[in-house]
Amino acid sequence: MPAEPSAGTSGAGSTAVAATSDKRPTIGDGGLEAGLDVLSTEPVAEPGLSTRWRKRLLPPLVALVLVVVVWQLVVLAGVQPRYVLPSPLDVWYTIKERIADGSLPTAVLTSIERGGVGFVAAVLIGTPLGLLVARVRPVRTAVGPLISGLQVLPSVAWVPAAILWFGLSDATAYFVILMGAVPSIINGLVSGVDQVPPLFPRVGAVLGASRWALVRHVILPAALPGYLAGLRQGWAFSWRSLMAAEIIAIGGEMGFGLGALLQQGRDLSDMQVVMVAILAILAVGIAVELCVFAPIERGVLARRGLARAS
């Protein structure tokens, strides 16, 4: 019974199948099959809240407490005078002070906003460029080495140039962020695309995907883990570059970010302010990692069965 040659519309096909699909052959009865399906799929047990707390939250907390204790012991040993090495409590009081007068929240918000906007811009620029480099061979041959080189070049090297070009303005900060983050994002996407198993594009071709549909529905989703790793590194580079720019370029329209706070501490020889700024920079980095990248990455990997969500 040959299929309709060229006029086989979807409607005709579906009714033909639906009308006869309740005839069951002897072996493939539903019961046997259902039994096989149950036997060969294991139920996934979700770990309880207390287990999760014990396994994931407790270890870093213990580590943190240990660091503070060691810090306090070093201070008590009197290796350095207190104004050079303040105690944890001194720093804590400075933090409260700086929160009360509003300078710490302002600095954190200024830096986060600038870093966030710069990072989003880097993603918007880096993603299409990455696709271009990954998928178009002449482009890759031409600019591939340059992009790898840019990734190695510390983006603080761009600060003097940026100040000369853009003055003490937001543009300087954004330029330095882009030079830091875009190469990482491009490289992440390129390596993600390179690691797509060759089978997947073949499947896409058999399914009749056009060139763009192949990229959109097969290559990009398959490359997502590599791309996410690139984004993560891109963010780290954004944040570092921004701090470098804020420390060096102060005044003008630059505003008062965490880098400026750090530099202010140095100018006043106030070690407590320096420590507060360093801790704040670190805290933002950790918070973004824990609240943004780690959950996204875990979700993506778990959905593909590459890591158990826990």
């Binding site: 493939g28 099959e33 096989l36 073949r202 499947v203 009749g208 997502l224 593909r304 069965g305």
Partner: protein, 279 residues
């Protein structure tokens, strides 16, 4: 690419031959179009790059709606032959003719996209076929029913067993609504009971849809259990050297004496074919 295949109306019997009348030793183009569910290979040779010929002047006619099994030793070029028919590779010499709707291919390894659910994989295949968004959910349900996976559509690929994965892959290939279905050792990695079940499923679906099936396998009994014709390929270079007809009218089971008898005969030929290379 499959996209380059033009869809012409059902031609006369002679039309495809006009298309393949190019001088023999030219590089083959994209598969030509023939009517119905027929597949026709004429003098097809294939070598990868400068390597040795993997296929050598293969001639093959598959009638519309028939079920053909292709047997051969590992590496003899079975997957290559299917890639040629699917339009993934081009023949070095010769012509490949496929129906205007093209061929669906079920790959050797599980080729579902791991970032999608079972239903998502089916939905994507329909989307790429051009089925409008409104019609897709119902069609996905119908395909899941067809392979008896009703209700399992929300499962991620890694949550499915090997047999369920291959059934989703089968449903995806069926969802393409091509008149030819190419299957590359689809059940090789499954246990015997699951394989028996899927044989019945496949046979049922084949009878219901009238699809032309080209089924590649290592397993002689599987070939005799499923096919109407069993073709034996030689290795290095790959050619089709022998053919058996199987009575497919009644119901067959893989344990049947008739299946076993023919399997033994075919296995002897396959062994002889492999032994030839030792000399």
């Amino acid at each position: 690419m499959t996209a380059t295949r033009t869809s012409t109306s059902a031609g006369t019997e002679g039309a495809p031959h006009v298309a393949s009348a190019a001088p023999a030793p030219t590089s083959g183009g994209a598969p030509q179009v023939v009517s119905g569910g027929a597949v026709r290979l004429r003098g097809v040779s294939k070598a990868y790059g400068r390597g040795p010929a993997v296929l050598d002047t293969v001639d093959l006619d598959v009638a519309p709606g028939s079920f053909v099994c292709l047997l051969g030793a590992s590496g003899c070029g079975k997957s290559t032959l299917l890639s040629l028919v699917a339009g993934l590779e081009r023949p070095t010499v010769g012509t490949v003719e496929v129906p205007s709707s093209g061929a669906a291919l079920m790959f050797q390894e599980s080729a579902l996209f791991p970032w999608l659910t079972a239903a998502g994989n089916l939905d994507l295949a329909l989307k790429l076929r051009g089925v409008p968004r409104r019609e897709r959910p119902a069609e996905v349900e119908r395909l899941l029913d067809l392979v008896r996976l009703t209700g399992a559509g929300g499962k991620r690929v890694h949550e499915l067993s090997g047999g369920m994965r291959q059934r989703v892959a089968l449903a995806r290939a069926l969802g393409q609504q091509r008149s030819v279905l190419l299957m590359d050792e689809p059940f090789a990695a499954l246990d015997a009971i699951t394989r028996d079940v899927l044989h019945s499923e496949l046979e049922r679906i084949w009878r219901e849809t009238g699809t032309t099936v080209v089924f590649v396998t290592h397993n002689v009994r599987e070939a005799v259990r499923l096919g109407e014709r069993v073709l034996l390929m030689s290795s290095r270079p790959g050619r089709i050297v022998r053919e058996w007809a199987v009575d497919a009218s009644g119901s067959r089971r893989i344990e049947d004496a008739a299946v076993a008898a023919l399997s033994i005969e075919i296995t002897d030929h396959l062994r002889e074919e492999i032994r030839r290379h030792a000399r």
